[in-house]
Symmetry: C2
């Protein structure tokens, strides 16, 4: 533990300067307190090594107006079970408390003939409600049909080689068995589970950048997301490449090969899943003055618009990700990896497009989603986070490919709900209705007021102003 920062924490000094204070002022302030300039330029040296209590005290005193309240608030969010809290603290560095995302559940998902209740961790008020509504809608119309289109993952060693291209090609071919052999200590367990390295190949990228090549690896990681496995394989590939390049006769007299980096890719177009719903267009619900077939036609148009207009496609796909991420988080997967891979896939044609498709042919409405999803149901947080374990149990302890299909169904359901609102009654009515309780909480409404307000807004349009106004009316008793 760093002595300086402990001293800093134990004085009230840090409770005064607030962000907004410029570095120079801060220095002057420091000097006026006869602290050395050096202490100020490194005000939290060794922060990560402080105890959790000291970290909280430091942040509370240095950055908040009421340090004691801040400390109490952070503690109020701790779990009462100290061991459980410690487990969560140790997930990352510098943990102060637990950030709550609501964990909800959307029931009634009929996927390939099986009924699921899908756990979702998400803060947006309308997402779980929309998922549940879509699930119910399609439960009555045959449910979701899903299938996995591939489970192949990718990793690359990026390197420079300023020498002869053909010789490099011969070298890589010659060295392939050694690459695989050297990786065996890493791949052994994965091979036992039916996975492993599917193949490695040289990719010539010299047209994009002088001397730039890749060793492009393809991997099967079964129920693991596989990032650690793939990165470990790739770092071993790098070591083998360097060692062999220095001595291999194919490269005799050639300049040295220089490795830049080795890393998996979150772009996984061949680890992909498809989800689809379909029914006669006439079986779609008539809404907003439109018949079922008219609703079907407008849904198709909405997808066409998203397919040709990136400004719309981004929000269209964002809605899909509302559903996907909520399940990805609840099941302990990394939503940044999924997001990056999915959106790059949406842009693969050169234009950013819709991830869903829709058609009406021979009177049948079809609506489908295809997305790349690299997910894990073992490893990482999946066995560590008790609520993740529970979410996976609620889903029937799925394999990774099964989870891909559940997640895709959630994404498709979300898009269906959004488009259905958009092309019939508009998005705001439903959204604001879901947001009503949030507004009421913000205004400090009590339980009786909430009941009365919810009843009132069943037949009135919700807007922030309308809620403020009607609560005033209610409170004044007029």
């Amino acid at each position: 533990m760093n002595i300086l920062s402990e001293i800093a924490c134990s004085t009230t000094f840090y409770s005064r300067p607030k962000p907004g204070l410029r570095a120079r002022q801060l220095q002057r302030f420091c000097v006026s307190l006869k602290l050395q300039k050096n202490e100020m330029s490194q005000p939290v040296e060794g922060f990560s090594k402080l105890s959790k209590e000291s970290k909280i005290r430091f942040i509370a005193e240095r950055y908040t107006a009421h340090p004691e309240q801040t400390e109490n608030l952070l503690r109020q969010y701790w779990n009462t079970d100290a061991r459980l809290q410690q487990l969560h603290d140790e997930f990352i560095e510098n943990t102060l408390s637990n950030f709550y995302l609501p964990l909800g559940v959307a029931p009634n998902f009929l996927i390939n003939g099986e009924l699921y209740a899908i756990p979702m961790a998400i803060e947006e008020s309308s997402v779980v409600a929309a998922a549940g509504k879509s699930a119910k809608y399609w439960l009555e119309r045959g449910g979701f049909n899903t299938r996995v289109l591939g489970t192949e993952k990718i990793g690359q060693v990026h390197f420079y080689f300023p020498g002869n291209r053909e010789k490099l090609g011969r070298f890589i071919e010659a060295v392939k068995p050694i690459l695989l052999q050297d990786a065996q200590p890493i791949t052994r367990n994965m091979v036992r589970r039916g996975g492993g390295i599917l193949g490695v190949e040289l990719r010539d990228k010299t047209q994009a950048m002088e001397g730039y090549y890749q060793l492009h690896g393809r991997f099967e990681t079964r129920d693991a997301m596989g990032a650690n496995f793939i990165n470990s394989c790739l770092e071993q590939f790098s070591a083998t490449l360097l060692r062999e390049a220095a001595v291999h006769p194919a490269l005799a007299g050639e300049p040295p090969l220089e490795i830049l980096m080795s890393i998996l890719s979150n772009y996984v177009p061949d680890c992909r899943v498809r989800a689809e719903v379909s029914c006669p267009a006439s079986a779609l619900e008539a809404e907003g003055g439109l018949s079922g077939p008219q609703v079907a036609q407008r849904l198709v148009q909405a997808v066409q618009v998203a397919d040709c207009e990136p400004y719309r496609a981004v929000t269209h796909n964002k809605g899909i990700m509302n559903g996907i991420d909520a399940v990805v988080i609840a099941t302990g997967n990394d939503f940044r990896a999924v997001e990056a891979g999915v959106h790059a896939y949406a842009a693969r044609s050169g234009t950013y497009r819709s991830l869903t498709g829709a058609s009406v042919e021979d009177g049948v409405f079809r609506f489908w989603l295809e997305v790349p999803l690299a997910l894990g149901t073992v490893g990482g947080l999946t066995t560590l986070h008790p609520l993740v374990r529970l979410a996976l149990e609620i889903l029937g302890k799925p394999s990774a490919p099964e989870l891909m299909q559940i997640v895709a169904a959630a994404g498709l359901a979300q898009n269906f709900a959004a488009l259905r609102s958009l092309v019939t009654v508009g998005i705001q009515r439903g959204h604001m209705k879901m947001h009503l309780l949030n507004i009421l909480n913000q205004l400090g409404a009590n339980e009786g007021e909430k009941l009365a307000m919810v009843a009132f807004f069943k037949t009135h349009t919700v807007s922030h102003n309308a809620v403020v106004d009607h609560l005033k009316t209610l409170r004044s008793g007029t």
Copy 2:
């Protein structure tokens, strides 16, 4: 409340069938219990109207092996303050409990001369540690320079008009003042705060799709993210358009205008922020046997690779989003909206590319990030979620443009940390070191064992197998 589902909940029936049971089996099972088929095909009719207790009981009994344990686990994650818990429950529908994301803090961010500690909500073990390390690194080299490049947001009314294009153009020009006037009840408060509608224009998209046009609106929403504001304006635009089109002389004799949908865009290339760090290349730390200038050169190469190779760009940008999303979530913003907008921006050239740039010129290393970010520091969850309020206080109660800059700095820091590892010692060493405690928790290591293991792996390479092996050794006392 639905009677059927209450009955269902109060029997043990639902504790038996597990997911994996096909719909037909489920039906048979149902019939054998003399329940009507109808009850089974709608097994959770009215679920959202059940009490939280009943929802939990239903899910626990229907989907988990030990319902009582499930119920206890979900309760263990409830806050002890019932009112606070209710607040969180009401954020969304069907809330069962609170999903914990670790809330950590990365101190030492010097941004435009001010010192920040940045709250981050994230589950990935290495993100906060990497952010803190980069912050410290650049604190000693002049810190982050950031600036906002624009704050303009976008929304569109998508409509069809099969008639004369020029007449439509004249109609829209004529109707513009009415559009703005009709929206005044919605825009009044926003205008008072310095925001509002910046402009509306007709966009002809008929080359992409027959008869397809947009009313493209530009908005300034100040410290609000603005989704509700923009959507409300757009829905009013739709109503005005329809009303005026029916009677306006410019469209006399023309076919009717048909509105498909009205919705904001999460693609906000003109709501953009830039963050940069720079220092003499020789001032970069020598690492992994490389001098400062060599590290600089390799960092530039790493960015060049991400710029020309989508497989790399996706993971490169994913790392940036690790930093961005963690702050976005902690400050109560919608990370799906941010993700979609950022990745589409990365693909704007027709190829998915790096969001960061890097150069060495005249011996000076520069590293920068430009991203679109539509964020809010008022509205939504910002005032509702107590930890979001706290996160915003810790950041000095920033305006939305200030928050854009903080978030961009966090993203740039994250990318710097990732590239720095990748081009020097490789990513796995640091990542696995951070993941060590997770592995130890998974293996049920006690405190003494954890201390011993952490000490051991200071000088040894962490892998899952290595940890398992050394813990065995430790426990056997050999």
